[in-house]
Symmetry: C3
Subunit: 217 residues, 3 copies
């Protein structure tokens, strides 16, 4: 059983904590984790306990943990997530990939490192999910979809067949991307938005159908 | 095994009936129920059978049942639900809380009396659901959400992290409330609406993003 | 164990293939299938293998298979699906009905022939689904709903209580139909649309609330 540390100590991190507990309770043969606690740069959280696990401190505290402890980044905002991962890389840390026991994955679904997939997600066939993608509960991802690194799907996002999503995108709760559409890097898709056309990089799109409201976040 | 009576005999009540049957069939250790039937004020339904269970009559019929029989209110409209519960209180009745076996609840999720949570709902951590809240299939509720008494969530409602919802609200199918937003008492949120700002009490909001269309229901 | 052939070899067909594999792996007593492969009119696909199963060829190839082999049509567009079924009828073929093991069906849910229901769908009570209806992952269908032949529900469609949907309709991902509404034959409902009024036959409706944008597809 490997040691595990959650990066972040906000709401998303506490949901990741529950995910780890549910993996550990699952009867199946998947890898179990010895959760050490949370790492968070916000000093106001140091020493607090969430679900019984301590906020261990900031990066300095992480440095004192054995190198064998692996990480999962539980931060929604892609830019912040990227910063955290860069910091962890400097410490030569490795990342775990966590999938809720309720999610079944076909043998042709490829997951990178540091991927988090929470409960109730539905994935089908020939899907590729790159490093540090965070997938919140209840998302659906169709055949041949490709999701690039650091992207976050909030709750109940619908990614249709053959969709391509760039790096560091943030897709809002209940948003939908139609078949064969491509979303560029660093896009933000609003909650409930329905993307019916390709989106260029660095744009924010909201509404039904989704319209770009700015080209720079 | 306690006796149970469903208040209401419409579609929602028949779905509650199926919920009870699925709880009773579940292998786990949760409490099972002896379902006596339905109570409904609509005389046209008296004597009918739904899924094999009789509509026993109105409040007078309930009065004849042993005091040990507990109730669940399967009525969608919050104001009607409130009336029914007041009536039941006069008879000194207690209410059951029913959760579908497919729904896993963390130990820090608090449920009041008379709560109904149907299948496929996804809840995470530190959630509070007050008395007589009805949650239809497929809803998602994030960390730290608080839902006050008598509120009804139709199918597939998305309640994001740290959302607060007042009493006697009705959230339409597929609606979404964004993180940290507060919805006042007796609000109605339209199907598919995306709430991106706080809503004051007694308003109706529809669309993406949700806009208030009236301040008095 | 009956022989089974999937009609179509696109993304939807490969998702149906995964569905068959998941049915075959399920521990429960449901009928298992000997999947022979795919039939597709597109010659460019002949001889290819998807998930280890060959594209056997077009209708001529199907004609060479034993008459005992049954079919499932895994094509989204209702008009194309109808053509395929007509062709199969000429060969006197029978159709299988496939339901994902994660989907529980009450005893009063009626399914026709050639129905496909994929994972994560939530159905309640007294629902009728006619021949060759295709239901993609994560759909929700409420009490007393009636869905007529050849209709396709894309991912996460919400069909509320007592809704009636005509033949050969296509409901887009994440769309919602409110209680008691009726949708005429051959309608198209856009992704994310919320249908709050009856739709006459042959119309296309999009948006929140859904508005008809054309009366002829």
């Amino acid at each position: 059983m490997k040691d595990l540390v959650i990066i972040g100590a906000g709401g998303f991190a506490r949901e990741a904590c529950l995910l780890v507990e549910e993996i550990n309770r699952s009867g199946d043969g998947r890898e179990k984790w010895n959760l050490l606690g949370f790492i968070d740069e916000d000093q106001a959280r140091w020493g607090l306990k969430f679900r019984g696990y301590p906020v261990l401190g900031g990066w300095a505290a992480l440095g004192e943990l054995p190198q064998s402890a692996v990480l999962i980044c539980a931060i929604g905002k892609p830019a912040d997530k990227q910063k955290m991962v860069r910091q962890a890389d400097r410490q030569g840390r490795e990342f775990a990939t966590l999938v809720h026991p309720s999610v079944t994955l076909a043998d042709d679904v490829k997951l990178g490192n540091g991927v988090l997939i929470n409960k109730g997600c539905l994935l089908t066939t020939n899907i590729s999910v790159a490093d540090h993608v965070s997938i919140n509960p209840g998302c659906g991802i169709g055949h041949d979809a490709v999701i690039d690194a650091f992207t976050t799907l909030m709750w109940r996002v619908n990614i249709s067949g053959a969709v391509k999503i760039g790096t560091s995108c943030l897709l809002g709760t209940g948003s939908t991307v139609l078949q064969n559409k491509t979303i560029g890097n660093r896009c933000v898709v609003g909650a409930g938005a329905v993307v019916i056309e390709d989106l260029p990089a660095d744009c924010t799109a909201v509404g039904v159908p989704a319209k770009s409201v700015s080209v720079d976040n």
